[in-house]
């Protein structure tokens, strides 16, 4: 009844090509952003901020990055936590060695560093594809884990091997309370979402999707596979590098090399599968699901009043997690974003379907 696009005539190319062509979508997004910026800080508790919202915002950013590579360009990577690690350590070294740099500049430089490393590890994708490539990307994971654990320069010769940069400062604004962290991350995530959304509908995104759908055909119509694949690896790693720097500085505060291990890589992959491959919105859904699920599963035993040891709870959690993954793949291989799209279709006709 309310979600109708009829009567909204496009009379200019600008209007036709805008990011959200439907008026109701634009209103919804503005309301949502206003709610997230203005209302949530008053509604949520510190616990909610630190255990769900902050990790959600950062992982959503990383998931968008991985989705650009896996969902849009069709190159599977099981090693993206490595590029998050590159971003985190690059940012740490920049902050330690050049303290006068603005943190936003540090973020961009860290992202660029991750992009460079990502492109190097993307080189095998020119020769191999599919599952072979997936295994090859594991090399990035293990190699980077080792580099940051062993090469002392990266950790600034800290004895324990873990690093702890202080809270970040931005134009004299010290970001250390949960609400400030949340607002800062939200602003960054929105900027990167808009960038990603525009990337995938531009010529680069179309080149990626053509490569994903059929690489030979893409080459025939004049898309250079080298260019498409390496840009996908680079930009995806850039997003993950920024997310990694934020994960280290804002969420963890101090971290050791194992903070960016294979489990994080696999979780990122799950996020985009559950959320929906090839969908920016899906990255949000997937990140929300993966971040919230362990917290919820932790609450269940308490609610039922059954005392379960933490070890058993974590094993049960892993079982439920695995079962849910399989269930999702069987029931809706296209992920939560697909359900969202179906809901929108239904809403168009509601309440008078035909």
């Amino acid at each position: 009844m309310f979600y109708r696009e009829n009567g909204q005539f496009k009379s200019s190319y600008r209007a036709d090509q805008q990011m959200l062509p439907i008026l109701q979508d634009r209103i919804f997004m503005l309301v949502l952003a206003a709610f997230a910026f203005l209302a949530v800080p008053y509604l949520a508790s510190d616990y909610l901020f630190l255990s769900i919202l902050v990790p959600f915002l950062i992982l959503a950013l990383a998931a968008i990055g991985l989705n650009l590579l896996v969902g849009y360009c069709g190159q599977i990577s099981i090693g993206h936590a490595a590029f998050m690690a590159v971003g985190a350590y690059a940012a740490y070294n920049l902050v330690v060695r050049a303290p006068e740099l603005n943190f936003l500049v540090v973020l961009v430089l860290a992202g660029l560093m991750a992009a460079a490393v990502g492109m190097v590890f993307g080189i095998p994708s020119l020769r191999i594809k599919g599952l072979y490539l997936a295994v090859a990307t594991l090399a990035a994971q293990f190699f980077m884990d080792w580099v940051f654990a062993r090469v002392k320069w990266f950790t600034n010769y800290e004895h324990s091997g873990s690093v702890s940069p202080g809270p970040i400062e931005l134009f004299g604004w010290r970001i250390d309370t949960p609400v400030e962290k949340y607002e800062f991350l939200l602003a960054i995530l929105i900027v990167f979402t808009i960038i990603a959304k525009n990337l995938v509908r531009g010529h680069l995104g179309r080149a990626w999707m053509a490569t994903r759908d059929m690489d030979v055909a893409a080459e025939v119509i004049g898309i250079r596979p080298v260019y498409a694949k390496l840009t996908a690896f680079g930009i995806s790693s850039f997003f993950c590098g920024v997310a990694g720097a934020l994960w280290g500085f804002v969420h963890l505060g101090s971290w050791e090399p194992l903070a960016f291990n294979l489990t994080l890589s696999l979780n990122l992959l799950f996020m985009i599968i559950i959320g929906g491959m090839g969908s920016i919105l899906g990255a949000y859904f997937g990140a929300a699901f993966i971040v919230a699920l362990p917290v919820l599963l932790n609450q269940i035993p308490q609610m039922l009043g059954a005392p379960i040891s933490t070890a058993t709870a974590s094993h049960l959690e892993s079982m439920i997690f695995g079962a849910l993954i399989i269930l999702f793949l069987i029931v809706e291989p296209n992920g939560l974003a697909r359900l969202w799209a179906l809901g929108k279709e239904k809403l168009r006709l509601w309440p008078f379907p035909h």
Partner: protein
């Protein structure tokens, strides 16, 4: 012939690297032999895990990430069951459990996902991995358990006459190698000589053609996952007997991934040879390449065996995308 030049170059480099410590007298021949044997033994274990991967990939096109979790699950089952009963009975029971597991996986995971893309199936096996890791530890507990194989622990000295100091070798390593050889021989016989084995090879060749001549795909999948489960028991028991059964087993099994890409996804001999190459390569690298690296770059300890296998496999992929013995008709990009 030109195609082979990079392969030959890489092979030659590896062989030179293998003998370099010996040639430059950086190590005593006896010590070098010990490292070599240690690498071969580790390689046998990698091969066993890789074998499970290859069997399943050949017959169902599923890249089974859960093979490591299956090894852990099987080892846990054997370890805990053998506390209450003799070892052989525990192994038989564990085998039954693995067959039941194969049936469940076929019914609940593979059948609903038939005809899906390889990536989706890979993700599904990741789900199976999480599920099995959780289930195994819920059912059997998450401490470190021992499997008593009844083999004397003290190493034996061989070849004292040939080298100064001789070579120390563990009895359980020898037993493990023997079991692995027997297992591979048995699998080869099974594949070549039995009707089921022929059916399996037919399915591996072409799913549709196999189905059209009346080979039941679902049953073949159950069989092949069961066989992979049995291989997982063997790997789990040997590994658990050596290092104790604990969660890290499923992580160590990740080492089998570079083995399969090195050997080729569809090749049983590839899994064996690849495993041996990776095993020897990473031990040699750790012992002889690690210390100079640590010295040169002032590292906080070696541990290059964590990634060496992957980098080796990557190098191989760059010069020979289909692996050592893989099928030639791989999709080239």
């Amino acid at each position: 012939m030109r195609r082979h030049i990079p392969v030959l170059l890489l092979g030659a480099t590896l062989i030179v690297g293998l003998f370099l410590p010996l040639a430059t007298r950086a190590s005593a021949p006896g010590f070098w032999m010990e490292v070599l044997l240690g690498g071969l033994m580790a390689g046998v274990l990698y091969s066993l895990v890789a074998l499970g991967f290859v069997l399943i990939f050949k017959a169902s096109g599923v890249f089974n990430f859960a093979q490591g979790a299956m090894v852990l699950f099987a080892a846990l089952a054997v370890a805990r069951l053998s506390e209450a009963m003799p070892l052989w009975l525990a192994i038989v029971l564990a085998a039954l459990i693995m067959v039941a597991l194969a049936m469940l996986i076929e019914r609940l995971v593979l059948r609903p996902l038939v005809n899906q893309e390889g990536v989706t199936l890979l993700m599904a096996t990741l789900g199976v991995t999480y599920f099995l890791d959780g289930l195994g530890q819920t059912l059997w507990g998450s401490d470190i358990y021992r499997i008593e194989l009844g083999i004397a622990r003290e190493p034996v000295m061989i070849l004292d006459g040939v080298f100064q100091g001789g070579i120390l070798i563990n009895r359980d390593d020898v037993a493990a190698a023997a079991v692995a050889v027997i297992l591979v021989a048995a699998l080869a016989l099974f594949f070549q000589k039995t009707n089921t084995g022929r059916a399996l090879r037919a399915v591996a060749d072409d799913h549709q053609a196999a189905q059209s001549i009346g080979i039941p795909l679902n049953r073949i999948w159950v069989i092949v996952w069961s066989v992979a489960g049995l291989v997982a028991i063997v790997a789990g028991v040997i590994w658990g007997g050596k290092l104790g059964v604990q969660f890290s087993l499923s992580q160590v099994a990740l080492k089998a991934l570079p083995v399969v890409i090195l050997g080729g996804f569809t090749s049983v001999p590839g899994a064996i040879v690849g495993g041996l190459i990776i095993g020897v390569g990473e031990k040699m690298a750790e012992v002889f390449l690690g210390p100079p690296l640590v010295k040169a770059f002032d590292l906080a300890g070696g541990g290059i065996e964590n990634w060496f296998a992957y980098v080796l496999a990557l190098l191989f992929l760059l010069v020979r995308p289909e692996g050592l013995f893989g099928e030639r008709n791989i999709d080239r990009v």
